[in-house]
Amino acid sequence: MPQEKIANRQLFFILFMIRCNIAVAFLPVLTTADAYQDAWLSSIVQFFPAALLLLFFGGLGSRFPDLTLAQYSERLLGRWPGKVLTLAILWAFLHMAAVEVRIYADMLVTVFLPDTPLLFLITAMVIVAAAAAHSGIEVIGRAADLLFPIYLLMIVGSLLLPLPLLKVMFYNLEPVLARGFGPVFRGAVTPMAVIVQFLTLTMLIPSLNQPKRGLRTSLAALAGASTILIFIAVVTTAILGPSPGARALFPFFKMVRVVALSEFVERLEALSVFAWGLGLFIEVAAYLFCGARGLSQVFGLEDYRSLILPMAAIWITMGVHVSQNAFQLLTFFKPAFFAPYALALIVIPFTALWAAYLLRKFFRRRSGEL
């Protein structure tokens, strides 16, 4: 069977939605720290460390364009250490996916379906993702192609709707930098750490049409999503006000909700929830695909598809039990906890990998092999 390939454009769409969805979900620049009206500055600031981290862990992929993380880690570190390291990264996929599904389900239960058990919603979402992952990365890529324009249209639409109100609400963004740069940086910490989502790139690079350009594509996705993030931050802060916005559970959603253009055009939040759902679907399908594929390579299985069902089951359980309630989830994303956790997941494994890579290269050159 020829290996399924996706275009770099499709990777861009997938990563864009993954990145953007966090902002749609709980807008970490605003809610996780005390940036308040300077949240939009945090959105700009977070791009740079996030891009550096991305270059750090994505750079290895460009050196092994035909291998996934699971494969080159074994090659670099040896069999068992490589497997252990891969498992740690796969854990990150599983955890992030469970958390994000959970946030979405929490929102639905809170706002739309108060009587529906959380389990059903999580199961439904995971089933869809599992179906997509089972169909393969090509199908996920095509679904991203199809859904991305709709997704973007709805997000941009949700941001444009409050424009008539924005002029009045602009004082909510003032004063700029009243408390110096400290809060701005604190607000940027969690968004920067959320780059842990982009670890999916390390599993997707060999599936790309142009693997060498994979890193560039993901940087573009990061930049694009950050741009959207700035706008979301500005509009949300302006409409909701800095401190109510920071206290809100789902700020973007709440912002769309308070907007009423006229007597008849109100309650447009269904659109933003739909966009969120579309993004989550792509995101979760990509996580599940990468997770199952990585796991199959760790265990040396031929086909990743047999792993999808058990993984989906584990995942549903995780989604239900990952936290008691939405507030606890938000605590998880507080910089003090999330940043060390995510950074550990990125920095430790990839420092080891880079060290191994450079040492090997060094010794090989010395022994004249290269």
Binding site: A7, R9, Q10, L108, F112, L113, T116, F120, L121, A124, M125, V128, A131, A132, S135, G136, V139, G141, R142, A143, A144, D145, L146, L147, E263, F264, E266, R267, A270, V273, F274, G277, L278, F281
Partner: protein, 536 residues
């Protein structure tokens, strides 16, 4: 005479008893192996036995000079004048012009010097003979010649070429395919008078020997596609093909789908347009429906009129049609979901209105919706089966009595009736019947999903549909292209259309061999103003 009769009776009795033990496959084997011997009487007996002295077999004996001969044909399939002409030539003209038919050389002489039919085929066995006779040939036998000469005497029974009822257009051509394969190929040939329009004939169906023609433009259609279609067609082994729908089931990429993976059309202009894009077309004898492969969803949403109308109107209509497709898919589900789970999403006056009309209705809204949808489907099916004269009756019963009485009796709420009606009308705007059928079925699933999880359920069903559509392929071409995978240059003929001079490229995945349709830069310019010329 008596001896002959006795012999004949005895023989037929014997064959009858022998025939009773034989099954169809035995007959077929025997007929294929049964060669003609050259003895006229025994050959004719063989034919008679194989054909069971069927009512419509005509046997005409004659003497061409001293040589006994026979002419066999099927009554009704042949042109009376043509068969008479054959006998006249063999019996009378041969004497006039002094060509003698000798025993053992009868067929050769007749073929080379006498018969003028434009198609002369020689067959040497019973099976081949019947195949040719069924096509409207007449077989000439001569004593002493082992074989038969088939003259083309067919009398085509043709329905007039008329506008296809299922695919009407306002400004397009009005001709449609009919059941006759030759006429159908001629309709395409007339539109594309180039040698590169290749038509490959195959005979499929063990018993029906149906002629199937694979048409493509050599050098434009991808060779891989042609090979694939050809091999898939070759693999079909079935007793009879009575319509292109039979073949469709064999040649599609995936049987597990509601969506049509081939495009069926009765319109020659549509087929020609598909050929020009680099697609392949399968025509089947005996059916007016051509199959176009590969097919994408986008193609099913294109109606002929889009290309004949002015461009902005085409864009508007295309967008409208896609919107109608979405409406007919999700509207019942969304309505059920909103009324059941999220009434707060509606503006208050609208919500109150809906609730007040629902007062006293004994069913939950989802039951109402499903029942009404089902009734509508039944009405539609009944309308399809009824003779046209009683057609209006069903609409009176359906629309007036059922709809109106159900509302005034308080059994269903008007809102649901409106939604069902709107959905039905939106469904009718899909150009492809096959696609609208798929949507009709999916609609029930969406309604149930909406009733279970509200709008989230609709989204769930929608995502599953998207996954399914994304994983479909038609002869290797992704079903959702050019949307997914996104091919920007092909979007010119998808959600929108552009001017004809803007349609420069063929679809990339299909017509990539010869990407350009026309030279660039044909945008019309305003002509010179004659008066200005004079003035200057």
């Amino acid at each position: 005479m008596l001896d002959w009769l006795k012999d004949r009776l005895g023989l037929s009795q014997r064959t009858a008893s022998r025939n009773e033990e034989k099954d169809l496959s035995g007959f077929l084997r025997e007929a294929a192996g049964e060669k003609f011997t050259g003895k006229l009487e025994s050959d004719l007996k063989k034919i008679d036995a194989a054909g069971g002295s069927s009512y419509d077999i005509s046997l005409r004996r004659f003497w061409a000079g001293n040589l006994p001969g026979a002419l066999i044909y099927f009554e009704g399939l042949t042109d009376k004048r043509a068969t008479e002409e054959i006998i006249r030539t063999l019996v009378i003209e041969s004497k006039k012009i002094g060509v003698a038919l000798k025993k053992g050389k009868g067929l050769e002489t007749a073929r080379e010097k006498l018969l003028t039919a434009d198609e002369l085929i020689e067959v040497d066995n019973v099976a081949g003979l019947f195949a040719e006779l069924s096509r409207g040939g007449a077989a000439v036998f001569f004593d002493g010649s082992a074989g038969a000469l088939i003259c083309d005497t067919r009398k085509p029974k043709l329905r007039a070429i008329s506008e296809p009822e299922n695919e009407t257009t306002l400004r397009g051509p009005r001709d449609g395919f009919i059941e006759n394969l030759r006429v159908n190929t001629s309709l395409i040939r007339l539109r594309l008078p180039i040698p590169q329009l290749w038509m490959k004939k195959m005979t499929l169906g063990r018993l029906s020997n149906t002629e199937v023609v694979l048409i493509y433009i050599k050098g434009l259609a991808r060779e891989k596609l042609i090979r694939e279609v050809h091999s898939r067609l070759q693999q079909v082994d079935i007793d009879a093909i009575l319509g292109s729908g039979y073949l469709e089931d064999y040649i599609v990429d995936s049987p597990n789908t509601l969506f049509p993976l081939t495009y069926r059309t009765e319109r020659p202009d549509k087929v020609t347009a598909a050929l020009l894009e680099g697609r392949a077309v399968v025509l089947v004898a005996g059916t007016p429906f051509a199959l176009i492969v590969p097919t994408e969803l986008n193609m099913l949403m294109q109606a002929p009129d889009d290309y004949f109308e002015l461009f902005p109107i085409g864009v508007f209509i295309r967008l409208l049609r896609y919107a109608a497709l979405i409406i007919s898919l999700i509207l019942p589900g969304v309505y059920v979901g909103i009324v059941t789970f999220h009434p707060e999403l509606l503006p208050t006056p609208l919500f109150l209105r809906i609730i007040s009309t629902r007062e006293g209705v004994p069913f939950p809204v989802v039951a109402e919706m499903l029942i009404l949808e089902l009734i509508f489907e039944i009405l539609r099916e009944a309308g399809l089966r009824l003779p046209p004269a009683i057609g209006p009756a069903i609409s009176i019963v359906g629309a007036l009595i059922l709809g109106d009485a159900a509302i005034s009796a308080g059994l269903v709420s008007p809102g649901v009736v409106i939604v069902v009606a709107l959905t039905a009308i939106a469904g009718f705007s899909t150009p492809s019947f096959a696609l609208s059928t798929a949507i009709r079925l999916l609609r029930f699933i969406f309604t149930i999903a909406g009733a279970t999880f509200g709008l989230f359920g609709v989204q769930f069903a929608l995502l599953l549909t998207v996954i399914h559509l994304c994983s479909l392929r038609s002869f290797g071409v992704p079903y959702l292209s050019p949307f997914a995978p996104l091919i920007l240059s092909d979007l010119k003929d998808s959600l929108i259309t552009v001017w004809w001079w803007g349609m420069q490229a063929r679809p990339k995945l299909i017509g990539g061999r010869e990407p350009l349709r026309q030279p660039l830069g044909q945008k019309p310019q305003p002509g010179q103003d004659p008066e200005e010329d004079e003035g200057s």
